[in-house]
Amino acid sequence: MPEFKLEKVSSGFASMVVQEPGAEGIRSCYACGTCTAGCPVRRVNAAYNPRKLIRMVLLGMQDEVLQGKEIWLCSSCYTCQERCPQGIRITETIIALRNLAAREGYAPSGVSMQAKLIKDQGRLYALDEFDDKKRKKAGLPSLPSEVAGATKLLDEKE
C-alpha cells in the first residue's frame, strides 16, 4: 500500500514532470475518467490506465511510473488528449514521461534500439543493395542507405 508524506504529494516528481513541454497542465486533472473510457489500449490491456498514470505522477510515485512498463503501452493515438475536458495534453505528457524514463535508462530495448538506428543511419530501416535492386526493379528511384546530414546533426546535439 503506497505511503506518502503530504509535502511529497504533488511536489517533487510532479513538479519535475510539469516542467516537461506538453505536461504543464496535469495538475488540473479532476479524474473524470473520459481518457480511460476512450483509450483503445485500455480496452485490451487492463494494466494501462491514463487516469491512474496521471494520478501516480501527482502522488509523486516516480519509480513506479518511470520504471514501470505502463507508460510504454500508450499507442499515442491522441484520443484522450482530444477529449480531455481540462485540456490536458495527456499524450504529450506520456511522451514526456517516456523521455524522463529514457534519460534514466528505463526505456524498453526496442525503443532504445530504434533510437540508436536513427542516430546511426538517419533512417529506421537501412536500405541495403538488395532493397535498392528491388526498388529499381519496381521502377522506384533509389534512395541513399544513410542520411549523413541527419546523423551529423544528431551527433552535434549529443
Binding site: 500500500m1 505511503e3 503530504l6 488540473s28 479532476y30 479524474a31 491512474k52
Partner: protein, 516 residues
Amino acid sequence: MNPLRAEKTIAVFGSGETARRLSREFLDRGRAVLLIMSRDQDTGDVPEGAECVVGGELVSATGQVGDFTLVLRVAEKREQHRVGFIVLAYESVREPVYDILGEPAHERVWSLSHLETQLAEGVFPEEYGKVLFLDRLDGVNSVAASERLLKAVVTAQEEHEIACCLVTCQVKVASPGLEMLYGRMRDGGCFVARTDLLDLEVNPGGIRARFDDVVLDDELSVSGALLVVAERERAAPELAKIAEVLGLETDHAGYLQGDNLLRVPCLTNRRGVLVAGGSGADLSDWQRAQNIPSVVEEVNSLSQWLDEVTPVEQIIYDRDRCATCLTCFRVCPHGAILFTDKPNFLHLACQRCGICTSLCPNEAIELAGFEKPSFFERLFPGQSGEKQEWPAAVTGFVCQRSADLVRQYLDEGDPVIGAVRWIEVPCAGALRSQYVLETLARRAEAGGVLVVSCHRDNCRSGDGTIRAAHMVQQVKGLLNTLEMDEGWVEHIPLAPNERERLHREVEQFQARRKKA
C-alpha cells in the same frame, strides 16, 4: 373600516452580518429599523440610526402585517414594540463534522473556522504547513459548506504556501465560480481524493489518513501535520423558540422557511414575517448576495400593498354558533386568527385558504365568496335542498392553483374534462366531507367525486393537501362501512403544470366508474 394606519418600522432579529447589512439597507431607504440582538453576541457596529435592543427575547407576537405587537423580555423586564414587519436574520451555526474521529479534542485536529481565524490573524505555526482537509464523507455536504472549504484550501495554498490534500466524497461546485475555484485549488497542487470510507490515525507527530483510492484501485495512505475538519451548517438555536412563538413552519433541518417550495425566496407561512440569510437556509455566497435585496424587495412591495389596500372582511363569523373551541385558531396555517375571548380574524394576514371554515365543528365561519348557500348553489344549481336525480356527471373539486388547467381544457371543449362538473375551491383543504357526501347522495350510477389538490410540500396553505387527503380517506371509510364502493371518491394530488396528467387521471377515473 378606517383606512389602515400601517406601522412602518421593521423588526430585524439577529446580530450577525446578515442582520447588520439588512438593517443598513432598510435605513438607507429611509425605513425605521428595530434591531433585536441576542445577549451574548458582541454588538459591534450597530448600524447607525437603528433602534437597538440587546438581549431581547421574543415572548409573544400578536397582530398582522402592518400591525404586529411584539413583547420582548429584556433582562427580566418586558418591552412592547409595535412594528409593521418581522424579519428573522439569524446566522446559521457551524458545527465541525467530527463524526469520523469520535472525540474532537486534539491539538492536531482543527475545525475549519479555527483554521480560518488562525490564517486571518497570521498566527499559523510554520511546522503545521502540511494540512489534510477532511470533508463530509456521506456526500450530502451543502454547496455553502463546500464553498467555504474550497476557499480555505486555496487561501492556505496561495497565501501561506501550505501543502494541502483534500479527502471528500463528492466535491460540490454547483454555484457560480466554484468550478474555477476548484480548478485553482488543483493547479495550486492540492491532491484531491474521493472516498466514502477513511481510517484516521491522530498522534502527537501528526495525522495519517488511509483510504481506498478509486482511481489507483489501491489503498492509499497520506500523512500530514494537521487535520482540518469541514463544518456542517445548523439552524441557529434561537429559531426553534421563535418558530413556536410566531407559529412558523420549519423545514427538516430546523430552518424557518419550511420545505414548501412556495416560500421562495424569503417568505414564511405568515404574510409580513420574512426570513433572511442563515435563518432560511444554508446559503452559498451567491445565494446570500441575492437574498438580502430580495428581502428588501418583499418589504417594499408589502408596504406599497398596505398603503393602497382597503382591508375587507375575509371571514364571515357567526358569534352564536361559535363554541369557542379554538379549532380555527389552531388550524390556521397563516397565523391570521387572534384568540381573545373569541376568534378575531386578521383580514390582512388571511390568505383565503378556507381550511378554518371546513374544520369548524359548528360551521360558525365561512369564507367570503365561498359562503355555504352560494357554495351549495354552485354545487347543485337550482336545487336548494330537495334531493333530485343527478345527471351521470362526475363532480370535480379543484383547488385554485390548478383551476386554470381545467379552464383551458373547458375552453378547448375537451370531452373528457368537459364531462365533469368542476367546482373551484380556494384550497382543497377547505372541502368538508359533508360536501362530498352531499354530492354522492345525489349520484347516478356513473357519478363520482374527484378532489384535485396540490402535491404535499407544494400547497400555499401548508397542509391543505394533507387535510384534503384525510377528508377523502374519511369519506372512503364511511363508504366502506356502508358496504359501498370506495371508488366513488378519489384524491388527485396535481401540480399546476401537470396538464397532461390531469387528463389521464380523469379519463382513468371515468373508465373505472363506468366499469363499477
